[in-house]
Amino acid sequence: MRGLAVFISDIRNCKSKEAEIKRINKELANIRSKFKGDKALDGYSKKKYVCKLLFIFLLGHDIDFGHMEAVNLLSSNRYTEKQIGYLFISVLVNSNSELIRLINNAIKNDLASRNPTFMGLALHCIASVGSREMAEAFAGEIPKVLVAGDTMDSVKQSAALCLLRLYRTSPDLVPMGDWTSRVVHLLNDQHLGVVTAATSLITTLAQKNPEEFKTSVSLAVSRLSRIVTSASTDLQDYTYYFVPAPWLSVKLLRLLQCYPPPDPAVRGRLTECLETILNKAQEPPKSKKVQHSNAKNAVLFEAISLIIHHDSEPNLLVRACNQLGQFLQHRETNLRYLALESMCTLASSEFSHEAVKTHIETVINALKTERDVSVRQRAVDLLYAMCDRSNAPQIVAEMLSYLETADYSIREEIVLKVAILAEKYAVDYTWYVDTILNLIRIAGDYVSEEVWYRVIQIVINRDDVQGYAAKTVFEALQAPACHENLVKVGGYILGEFGNLIAGDPRSSPLIQFNLLHSKFHLCSVPTRALLLSTYIKFVNLFPEVKPTIQDVLRSDSQLRNADVELQQRAVEYLRLSTVASTDILATVLEEMPPFPERESSILAKLKKKKGPSTVTDLEDTKRERSVDVNGGPEPAPASTSAMSTPSPSADLLGLGRPTARPHPPPGGGLLVDVFSDSASVVAPLAPGSEDNFARFVCKNNGVLFENQLLQIGLKSEFRQNLGRMFIFYGNKTSTQFLNFTPTLICSDDLQPNLNLQTKPVDPTVEGGAQVQQVVNIECVSDFTEAPVLNIQFRYGGTFQNVSVQLPITLNKFFQPTEMASQDFFQRWKQLSNPQQEVQNIFKAKHPMDTEVTKAKVGHLEGRPRGHAACNPAPGSGGTARGTLSVTQRQGLEGWPRGTCCSRPSTRVWRDGPGDTLPATQCQDLEGWPRGTCCPQPSAGVWRDGPGRAACDPAPGSSFSCFFEQIIGFGSALLEEVDPNPANFVGAGIIHTKTTQIGCLLRLEPNLQAQVRPSGNG
């Protein structure tokens, strides 16, 4: 084709892009005039022009004609013309309906022809296009070609690969049928090429339908044994550098990995094969060429992964391990990498774990001397995998020493691994503390929060190491430059256990304080905040340093710090230290209680970092083996965790249920707590729903529950004693839920007092869809428990069960009333009977700012009022929603009492590990960034480090939030009633079917020390 050659050389000689485009335009015009149709072109020129078009297309220009000519070429009887036609079609085909029909017709003709080259061309075209249309047209035909008795070997080979391709693109279109059993028998074919192609096909098919291809196992084994035992000259064309059919062997071994170990007869033969392969690896190489060793090792590695997959032959596993051990010192970097990778999986097998451990020195050596970072990474993985109690100190020490020189990309991972291993296999906790402190010293920047939270949790939970930890930390802090994380750990531990080492004159309280304070100014704001908490803890621990600390707190750099958090703490702590008596101090600043045991958050983090596939399996197996150690992480069945954890990533520490809820505040046995948990719950409540529940006490609309699968939204309205609630179930996945049945469950106590009526919903919820359910509510009498909404559905194959409390509380039927000042106090006084009154004093978690409150509430506008200076000692302030509770009693006179109370906060750590909720979960007050309060009443003041606070309330937000609560709660806010303008007064009526109950409420914020709300009913 001279014309084509000339054209291509013209294009190559073009000086610029523009010249090239000009030349192409000219050529296109020429081809168009040739294809015009009035002249009949001979096959040769047609082929030539189609080739030119193809070349132009490959240069990146659009081709919009010539398809017809290409299709014409398909019907030619010459190989070269047909070939060019197919080439054009497979490169340039688009789903143009009329052409596709012609093309398919031509392909069909070729498939039906007896000419093997034509059949081959047609099959190649189908495979390289591989579209759905092609699959639709030919998926039924190709299996016939594949299994027909008279088909040539080369065609069979092409057919198998073509079918594989179609199956990969559209598995649903490839019909399974009787041909499958005959395909399996292709494994016995004479022609090794056919066997290789068939093995690829069968492996892919067997992954989807293991049952149908079960018979392939014995065939594969016998085929494999024939290959393995053959002399290198037997297979002629298929011997590659003295290795018999390496590709086929690898494919057969892969196929076998789809199935569990076969029955004993076949198994013996397979074991023999594998042994032969292992033996062959020991033989001296027959050739020095790299291809020889590559082919041999490929088979060997595949055999080893089959051995690991079966995990049943201790003998083989150990041999494999020894073989890999040899590779660990091989010259080839790739081999070392592969050996380490395979060993990683071997280490998790109980048979070979010990054998792997023998290579520890080599692996450690690899870690130190290896030049390739990816290999070092594998070495770290392997060390992690082979670690157990016996070698933990050695491995951890090696990893630590390696950390100093480690590549930056893997440092964080090593840090996590060291932290996990140190925790998991620690026998002696002083060793653990030393290790982690070392870790922080060496790679402080890579130590994430979870790691140092964990140290503190462990130190707090173990009495025996507390003293040692304090001493070590104290010594570590004496280094001239120490990492901020060390300061955090130091601050926390000394704050808790500094007294344990105070006896030593070298670490007297003042020295401890001065040491910490010398680091203060070098630290970032969060650390400084934590140190302030440490100081207030010191005030409690060592009364003798109190003046010094007060001086520090009083200094302008603290009291007038630009950072609002530091300023607030300084002010609060200073007040606390001056106002509170030692008893109160001792209560507020008491030592932290032990943390509940739960899965290590570090492990979760490592999993997240690594991605789900690789580590988890290993992790799971490891965990099963190591449960006994240190009560470590508890194995959590995957199904339950998937169902009940809203979002594992959001909740790093695992959201445990609170250990023990403090008892409801005093108010007499007759007074009940709306907010406390109901005792009878059908299924364990989904975590997270509880906080949501608390949020709904004062709110009618919003999201009640959410996890990866399901979202439940609520919209409700209440009037007098009637209400209506719309529940929206949203399917967050793309697949449908089956048997979707929400049921409302009222406990026996609740049944007579609350009427709920609802209609059943459609049992299937489509992916992404939302269904609605209406619940009609009637309040018959007062009640305390909340009904439970239990949802059951089938998602994928698993059965899911979710229970949430429906936020129907008594206060929903609470209607505000207006009342004059006289009326109010008259009634208030009438209700002086102790049974009718509940008074409670509670500490606010937030400082108050009346001004803000008013602006927010808008009720007291226009009333001139000075800025009521807030007193932000922790003992004053508003209340927290989660703990706000109204108790009321149905009095004889029909005037029960209501009151607000909140459980006092006891401890001081506000930040750090603990029952921490992600702040966003708690935020529900619009416009108030951190405006909600903790659902955990035990929230302490340790705001840094491991604490219990749900989230940290911002100054200024609290009081208004209390206000919203009063209003959201249902009672009216009464103005100009109370003679003291700072007090807040509310009144309302609870409507039930049987009675109407009035409630009065009064809140007296005590700006000096305490807020004193009192309720009256």
Partner: protein, 434 residues
């Protein structure tokens, strides 16, 4: 300020590389090549930002000129400089081509040293540069006096003209060069039109003459016409509204601002006195009337009529009409009454050329285009018909009213100067949709 200047050939090989500032590294040269010259998609923006470095480029035939900077410079200034640089190079060695640049690279480096100093543009006046940068090398006949004169001129107030120039005949040429741009709808509605023009002056005047240039600028005419209302109405029609204009550095801008009079001491030789742009009351020299009819799927009939719209005594030249053809054209037959027409497959267009055409005439071409049916459903986008021409008048309507020359020291007066004025209107992008 400009950090460096590179010149590449069409393959992206660096011909000239001059770095003025340290913040431009060696890799900047490659960055431009990789991201602009060899970019997969054609880069259409003349300014490219790569890794916090800005590249300003212009292309002359196959040569890329790129100015590089890391600072926030005035882009208009950089482009102005690049154009000036092209002019200077063209004045020294003719067409800017790879070969010319390779042959003159010493000269180019010398020029670059002179016209750009630490990235700040300096004197770029060809006439002045030619006095001290010569292609022959410094000749020994330059006396000390002459050299000191060069120094005082280059550093003096009037850097563009040296003293003591003497001509036997004081002569000046004034060219008004305009290019008219148009986009018209098929129905003959003007969608957008503007004229960008230049006034180029070639002066051969003795001494240090003070010149004053006047044209029919609307503002000036109205100001003058205040006294005689009668005149305003008469000349008001002929005055033009100039949208914006820029001047050569020799023009006293303060005077222009206050009195709107253009006075200057011209450089010796050729220079561009001013540039301007007008958008109102443009005389469109040609009207193109297209007629396209699709006959079935395989045929297209095109008829185009052009009408000249100016005084019959004037002659338009170099007329070329370019009629785009669809991408699936397989054959074309053309019939035209005047000039020559040809289908150019490499450009996908019918090109119709007419050498000369008088005003108020009309001519027509008709073509039959055969199409190859394609399976591509995309409709042909019908690009506009474009046109090129040259006419001997200013389409904006600009008229030179006067150019006065005063030379107080030497005794020749305005009347002794021989003055020539010429108007040339060319087509810019002159398109009509079809």
């Amino acid at each position: 300020m400009i950090g460096g200047l590179f010149i590449y050939n069409h393959k992206g090989e660096v011909l000239i590389s001059r770095v003025y500032r340290d913040d431009i590294g060696r890799n900047a040269v490659d960055a431009f090549r990789v991201n602009v010259i060899h970019a997969r998609q054609q880069v259409r923006s003349p300014v490219t930002n790569i890794a916090r470095t800005s590249f300003f480029h212009v292309k002359r035939s196959n040569i890329w000129l790129a100015a590089v900077t890391k600072q926030n410079v005035n882009a208009a200034m950089v482009f102005e400089f690049l154009y000036k640089m092209c002019d200077v190079m063209a004045a020294y060695f003719g067409k800017i081509s790879e070969e010319n640049i390779k042959n003159n690279f010493v000269l180019i480096y010398e020029l670059l040293d002179e016209i750009l100093d630490f990235g700040y543009p300096q004197n770029s006046e060809t006439g002045a540069l030619k006095t001290f940068i010569t292609q022959q090398g410094i000749k020994s006949q330059h006396t000390k006096e002459e050299q000191s004169q060069i120094t005082s001129q280059v550093t003096g107030q009037i850097g563009w003209r040296r003293e003591g120039i003497k001509y036997r005949r004081n002569e000046l040429f004034l060219d008004v060069l305009e290019s008219v741009n148009l986009l018209m709808s098929p129905q003959g509605q003007v969608l957008s039109a503007h004229v960008s023009g230049r006034v180029v002056m070639k002066s051969y005047l003795s001494g240090m003459p003070e010149c004053k240039f006047g044209m029919n600028d609307k503002i000036v005419i109205e100001k003058q016409g205040k006294g005689t209302a009668d005149e305003t109405s008469k000349s008001g029609k002929q005055s033009i509204a100039i949208d914006d204009c820029t001047f050569h550095q020799c023009v006293r801008l303060s005077k222009f601002d206050s009195e709107r009079s253009i006075s200057f001491i011209p450089p010796d030789g050729e220079f561009e006195l001013m540039r301007y742009r007008t958008t109102k009351d443009i005389i469109l020299p040609f009207r193109v009337i297209p007629l396209v009819r699709e006959v079935g799927r395989t045929k297209l009939e095109v008829k185009v009529v052009i009408k000249s719209n100016f005084k019959p005594s004037l002659l338009a030249q170099k007329i070329e009409v370019r009629i785009p053809t669809p991408l699936n054209t397989s054959g074309v037959q053309v019939i035209c009454m005047k000039g020559k027409a040809k289908y150019k497959a490499s450009e996908n267009a019918i090109v119709w050329k007419i050498k000369r055409m008088a005003g108020m005439k009309e001519s027509q071409i008709s073509a039959e285009i055969e199409l190859l049916p394609t399976n591509d459903k995309k409709k042909w986008a019908r690009p506009p018909i474009s046109m090129n021409f040259e006419v001997p008048f200013a389409p904006s309507g600009l008229k030179v009213r006067y150019l006065k020359v005063f030379e107080p020291k030497l005794n020749y007066s305005d009347h002794d100067v021989i003055k020539w004025v010429r108007y040339i209107g060319r087509s810019g992008i002159y398109e009509t949709r079809c």
